[in-house]
C-alpha cells in the first residue's frame, strides 16, 4: 500500500518537475531573445558610419573627449574611418541610446524574473 502511495507521489513530483522544466525552457528562451534584442538595438549611426554601442566604446569616446578633442576620426563597426565633427554631442547621443536600450532590457528582465507562469511571461490572456 505504502509503495503504491510512494509511486503516485513520485509520478506527481515528476510531472511537476517536467512542467517546471518546460517553464524554465520558455524562461531561458525569452531571456536569450531579450539579449538578442538588446544587441540589435545597441547600434547608432551618424556621419555615414554605424557604431556598435558597448561600455568599451563609451569609455573610448569619453577618453577622446577628456583629451580635449572636439573632432576625431574613429573606426565604425565596418572598420571604415569616420570623422566625428562634434565628439561631445556624439557621446551624448551614444549614451542616450545606451541607457534607453539597457533600461528597456532591465524592465523586461525584471518582469520576466518575477513571472512564474508562461502566460504571464508572454502576456497571454488565457
Amino acid at each position: 500500500m505504502s509503495k503504491e502511495i510512494d509511486k503516485s507521489v513520485d509520478a506527481e513530483r515528476l510531472a511537476k518537475a517536467l512542467h517546471f522544466s518546460n517553464t524554465m525552457q520558455t524562461f531561458n528562451l525569452a531571456k536569450n531573445n531579450l539579449k538578442v534584442k538588446t544587441q540589435t538595438l545597441l547600434s547608432y549611426s551618424a556621419y555615414g558610419g554605424t557604431f556598435v554601442i558597448s561600455q568599451e566604446f563609451i569609455g573610448f569616446l569619453n577618453a577622446v573627449k577628456s583629451a580635449g578633442k572636439k573632432q576625431a576620426v574613429i573606426l565604425d563597426k565596418n572598420e571604415t574611418p569616420i570623422k566625428i565633427e562634434d565628439v561631445a554631442d556624439f557621446l551624448d547621443n551614444v549614451l542616450s541610446v545606451y541607457f534607453e536600450v539597457v533600461n528597456e532590457y532591465n524592465n523586461d528582465y525584471q518582469k520576466l524574473k518575477s513571472s512564474r507562469k508562461i502566460e504571464k511571461i508572454l502576456d497571454i490572456i488565457v
Binding site: 518546460n22 525552457q25 520558455t26 531561458n28 528562451l29 525569452a30 536569450n32 531573445n33 538578442v36 534584442k37 544587441q39 540589435t40 538595438l41 547600434s43 547608432y44 549611426s45 555615414g48 558610419g49 554605424t50 556598435v52 563597426k77 565596418n78 572598420e79 571604415t80 569616420i82 528597456e104 508562461i118 511571461i121 508572454l122 502576456d123 497571454i124
Partner: protein, 292 residues
C-alpha cells in the same frame, strides 16, 4: 538623395506573396520613418491579378517580365507538413538596374520590420551592406555564419541588403547577373550545397570574386545579425505591428514548441504557410492601425 525600400513579390499557385508584401509594407510604415517611398517589384501576372491591392499599399510598382524558368523547392510548415511548390526568385539580380532610387533597401516580403534599426542605413558611407551572421530565435542554433559549403565561402543572406547607385555596385550587380546566367558552373565551382538557384549563393559568390577571390569583410547592416525564425516554427499570434508571439520548435524535439515573444525587433519568418494562416488577423491589425 532619394531613399526607397523595394519589396520583391511574385505570386505562385501556392503562395499569395503580393498580400504578404502588402502586410510587410504596413509593418515598415509603422516602424521606419526616414525613407521616401516603398516600392514593390513584381511580375506582370501578379500585378494584373492584384492591381488595386498593390496600388493601395505601395508608392511605386516596378513590373518585371515573367520568368521563363521555374524554380521548385520544398516549403516546410513546421515538422508536420511540407509542400513542393514553385518559387520565383530570379528577378532579384535585376533590382539594381530597376531601382529608381539613389539609395535602396531591399527587403524580402517575409521579413517583418518591427523596429526602426534599419533607418540607420540611409546616408551610409558604405555602398553596399549585407549580413552573413544570423541568430536562430528558437535557440536551436547559436549565432553563426552559414557557409555555401563547409569548405568554401561564407554565405550572405540576400533577405535584406542595402545599395547605393555607385561604381562599386554597378560592377557588383553586373557580376551577379553573370553568375546567375552561368549558375550551374559557379554552383559547381563553389561546391554549393544545393543545386537549386539561391540568391544567397549568387550574392556570396559575387562578393567573394569582387574582393579578389579572398575572404572578405563586406560592410554589415546596422542590425547585428539576421533574426531568423526557421520554417519548423509557427506563429501563435501577432499582438501589434511590433510584437509577435511565436511557437518555436524545441531543440530536443522539433514536434514540441516553446512560446516566445518577439517585440521591437525585426524578424525573418520563413514559414510562409504560417504567415498565410494569420493573414486575416494581420489585415485586421494593419487596418486598425491605419484607421487609428
Amino acid at each position: 538623395m532619394s531613399k526607397g525600400i523595394i519589396i520583391l513579390a511574385n505570386n505562385t499557385p501556392e503562395f499569395d506573396y503580393a498580400s504578404i508584401a502588402g502586410i510587410c509594407s504596413d509593418f515598415i510604415r509603422a516602424n521606419m520613418k526616414q525613407f521616401d517611398e516603398i516600392a514593390i517589384m513584381t511580375d506582370a501576372s501578379t500585378y494584373k491579378a492584384n492591381k488595386s491591392k498593390i496600388n493601395s499599399k505601395f508608392d511605386r510598382v516596378i513590373v518585371t517580365p515573367e520568368s521563363s524558368s521555374i524554380n521548385v523547392r520544398i516549403f516546410k510548415d513546421t515538422t508536420s507538413r511540407s509542400v513542393k511548390a514553385e518559387w520565383k526568385n530570379l528577378s532579384r539580380t535585376t533590382v539594381y538596374e530597376l531601382s529608381p532610387y539613389d539609395e535602396t533597401l531591399v527587403i524580402d516580403c517575409d521579413y517583418f520590420v518591427m523596429s526602426n534599426t534599419l533607418d540607420q542605413v540611409w546616408g551610409s558611407k558604405s555602398d553596399f551592406m549585407i549580413n552573413s551572421s544570423f541568430v536562430d530565435l528558437a535557440g536551436r542554433m547559436d549565432e553563426r555564419v552559414m557557409y555555401v559549403d563547409e569548405f568554401t565561402i561564407p554565405m550572405y543572406w540576400a533577405t535584406v541588403f542595402y545599395f547605393k547607385k555607385s561604381d562599386y555596385c554597378d560592377t557588383l550587380f553586373t557580376l551577379i547577373s553573370h553568375i546567375k546566367n552561368n549558375y550551374q558552373y559557379y554552383c559547381f565551382l563553389y561546391n554549393c550545397q544545393s543545386g537549386m538557384f539561391r540568391n544567397d549563393y549568387v550574392f556570396s559568390i559575387a562578393l567573394h570574386i569582387l574582393n579578389g577571390n579572398v575572404a572578405n569583410n563586406v560592410p554589415k547592416l546596422p542590425i547585428a545579425f539576421l533574426n531568423n525564425s526557421f520554417d519548423l516554427d509557427d506563429i501563435y499570434k501577432f499582438n501589434s505591428l511590433n510584437e509577435v508571439i511565436m511557437m518555436f520548435a524545441k531543440k530536443s524535439n522539433t514536434t514540441e514548441y516553446l512560446l516566445g515573444k518577439i517585440s521591437n525587433m525585426d524578424i525573418h519568418i520563413m514559414n510562409k504557410k504560417a504567415i498565410m494562416r494569420h493573414m486575416k488577423d494581420l489585415k485586421k491589425l494593419t487596418t486598425k492601425k491605419v484607421t487609428a
